[in-house]
């Protein structure tokens, strides 16, 4: 197993009751695997805020970053995480 940090913001952090949690995933796990572990931590009632109930995939418009970079440029949800990696999930935001 390896340890990664999963972080969230805004209402996802409210549902998680924290902006940051440490998670254990198997070596070779992907960003998607991390999101599933994160959903477990959020609790049953809150899972739909993170994952679409029908598909189990992340809700549209969530921004997902691995070590600060958007996963779209890193191979998407299949991108493999390493020990100590940082996965950040941010709900759609704007302004400022």
């Amino acid at each position: 197993m390896i340890r990664v940090t999963a972080r969230t913001a805004l209402h996802l952090a409210t549902l998680l009751r924290s902006r940051e949690v440490e998670l254990e995933v198997p070596a070779g796990a992907s960003v998607m695997d991390v999101l599933v572990r994160l959903a477990d931590r959020m609790g049953e009632q809150s899972v739909p805020a993170l994952l679409e109930p029908q598909s189990g995939r992340p809700q549209r418009h969530l921004r997902i970053m691995l070590n600060g970079r958007d996963i779209g440029i890193l191979g998407g949800l299949d991108a493999v995480v390493k020990e100590g990696d940082d996965v950040l999930v941010i709900p759609p935001a704007g302004g400022g």
């Binding site: 418009h61 940082d86 704007g94």
Partner: protein, 624 residues
């Protein structure tokens, strides 16, 4: 012919001669510059020659609406205020919302050009065709709330909309802003220009309306725009409830919320104290701009001593940074109080707060002593000292006089290595986004015609992950030159000129911004715009503004970033390890000038580019 949108008239007010006259808006001006910032910068370039004293009678102050302002297109009561900036020496252009912009249109004017200097404190009233110069001796010294109310009472008409300055503008602080209602044309010291003209306020009252050239087509364009607003995953569902303070949480999570004069970004991160939840807890109401269904502007009430009972419209995200994290302050009530104080004094919350943070670092380093500070303990986090210092800056009392003109001027006067800690570009203090974690946004700070201005080329791709025109790596430098140009031109073309609230660009229509603007403008005004033509207006205005800077002596050497951004990698947080060293900045600048068709060695627009934009006479001016 202009059939709608525009009133077709520009009001020119000469304070020296106490005369007012009107001029017509030509179709050519409309087509090439649209309005707003376009009208302002075109007027400034044509009428304010190189070397003009920004605080002298020959500088001009241009209040220009776009054709959408005052129409029933949502979120369009906006106005660009343009002048030669006393803070930067380049174009000073700041946008404001509220009700004044629409009222100026209802009074019959697309723009108001103020020139000359009044002999004694004056305010100008505009009621349709009637323009009057009135004695402002009794208003001089008042804060911006009292000033506005006293004018309404004196005119026996509460319907007037007023733009005014506070004590900071009267005292020629180069951090002074212009306040209308509780909104601000905040940055670049435009309030000092108004003060230098002895102009305390402009009160406007209108009884007309904005005509529509093609009602059917306009209705369709407006409906389409509203549909995009409704479909946004953010605009109504999140932003309307949370406002700009939500960005504290987002940018904080990305390790880009600048703190303690940019020395503690990622380390000092008081999201619990200043973020979304803290903001919700103190929000007591809304105060939307004219015609805005989103109503992002929040009224916040402080509840703890010694600030209990103070209410502000805001603080917005940028002020939470400048009067909060930048100064090491994690007390929301103190930020509310400081925000309200700045509005009353007529101080730009952003530049003023950054300047206080700069003074705090120098104090900590021993470059400012207790004697210098007038016995204020300027340690980071001392909110009471911050508030006391803001007041001193507006009145130029003691150390306030040293700091009243911003960090660049203060650093020059203090000497030593103070300039290392002066967080500015071209004299304009840095906004909240620590651009060591967003390189296109950093390039925009370096190249914006107004100095370090997040609003001129906001990199929403990096900050909010919106993949338009494409998804980017926020830490990468390659490709950022072209992206920065696109961000600057689309913003100018679709927000700053038409005029439209910039929040709609990234939250509602990022993929179709130019098409949306073209459809609205064409149907509203009767002047045919294609999306390509709209976008090119953005490019034209950015080139003309650059030409103004070149004429004033600016070049590539001025397109730079503070020492700390270039040489100190972030020590903590979500952007840890990143910075923008000189070689990265050079690479981005080379790309940027190339994308712009400018000379790479000097950053000067080329004759070829200027001719392509119909600016051959500008090439002649520059001796190209």
């Amino acid at each position: 012919m202009l059939q709608g949108g525009y009133t077709g008239k520009i009001l020119r007010v000469d304070l020296s001669q106490r005369e007012a006259r009107t001029e017509e808006v030509s179709v050519e001006l409309a087509k090439n510059y649209i309005g707003g910032a376009g009208f302002g910068i075109k007027t400034l370039y044509d009428e304010v020659p190189a070397g003009t004293d920004a605080l002298g009678p020959d500088n001009k102050l241009i209040f220009a609406c776009g054709p959408l302002s005052g129409s029933d297109t949502p979120c369009a009561s906006r106005m660009a205020v343009t002048s030669k900036s006393p803070l930067t020496g380049a174009v000073g252009m700041a946008l404001t919302g509220g009700f004044f912009p629409a009222e100026l249109k209802f009074a019959g004017y697309d723009a108001l050009i103020v020139e000359g200097t009044a002999e004694a404190p004056t305010y100008v009233t505009i009621d349709g065709d009637t323009v009057q110069f009135r004695d402002a001796q009794g208003l001089w010294g008042t804060n911006t709330s009292d000033c506005q109310q006293m004018i309404k009472d004196a005119l026996k008409d509460q319907g007037y909309r007023i733009a005014c300055i506070g004590p900071a503008g009267e005292n020629l602080s180069r951090l002074a802003c212009i306040i209308n209602e509780r909104r601000a044309a905040g940055r670049k010291g435009l309030g000092a220009v108004m003060g230098s003209k002895n102009l305390k306020a402009i009160a406007v009252r209108g009884h007309g309306e904005v005509a529509v050239a093609d009602p059917e087509a306009y209705k369709a364009a407006r409906s389409s725009f509203r549909e995009h607003m409704r479909e946004s995953p953010v605009l109504y569902s999140q932003f309307a409830k949370l406002g700009t303070p939500m960005v504290v949480d987002v940018v904080g999570a990305m390790g880009m919320l600048a703190a303690k004069n940019w020395r503690a970004t990622g380390e000092f991160l008081p999201v619990d104290e200043l973020g979304m939840e803290a903001g919700k807890a103190v929000t007591v109401g809304r105060n939307p701009c004219q015609g805005c269904p989103v109503a992002c502007s929040q009224l916040k009430l402080a509840r703890s001593a010694p600030y209990a009972g103070i209410m502000a419209e805001g603080p917005e995200f940028e002020s939470i940074y400048s009067l909060g994290t930048q100064c090491g302050v994690d007390n929301m009530d103190a930020v509310i109080a400081a925000d309200r104080l700045c509005d009353e004094l007529g101080l730009d919350t952003m530049s003023a707060g950054v300047t206080v943070g700069f003074a705090m670092e120098l104090y900590e380093r021993g470059a400012l002593s207790a004697v210098d500070s007038g016995d204020l303990d300027l340690s980071f986090g001392n909110d009471r000292a911050m508030i006391a210092l803001l007041e001193k800056m507006a009145y130029r009392e003691g150390i306030g006089d040293l700091l009243a003109d911003g960090v660049k001027e203060a650093a020059d006067r203090i000497g030593g290595d103070a300039s290392r800690y002066a967080m500015h570009v071209k004299g304009l203090e840095l906004p909240a986004y620590d651009v060591r974690g967003a390189k296109a946004h950093g390039l925009n700070y370096a190249t914006s015609y107004t100095g370090a201005d997040h609003n001129r080329g906001y990199a929403f791709q990096e900050i909010f992950g919106i993949p338009i025109p494409k998804e980017v790596d926020r830490f990468a430098v390659e490709g950022k030159g072209e992206l920065c140009k696109w961000n600057q031109d689309i913003r100018t073309a679709t927000c700053d000129c038409p005029t439209m609230c910039a929040f709609l660009l990234d939250m509602a229509v990022p993929a179709i911004a130019a098409e949306n603007a073209a459809a609205l403008l064409t149907s509203l005004t009767g002047v045919a715009f294609t999306a390509e033509e709209v976008f090119q207006v953005g490019e034209r205005v950015n080139n003309l503004a650059r030409a103004f800077s070149v004429r004033e002596g600016f070049s590539r050497k001025d397109d730079t970033l503070p020492d700390r951004v270039m040489n100190e990698p972030l020590a903590a947080g979500g952007s840890k390890g990143h910075h923008i060293p000189q070689e990265d900045l050079d690479l981005m600048l080379d790309e940027y000038y190339t994308a712009r068709g400018w000379d790479v060695a000097t950053g000067t627009p080329t004759r070829q580019k200027l001719e392509e934009l119909g600016l051959a006479s500008v090439a002649d001016d520059l001796g190209l």
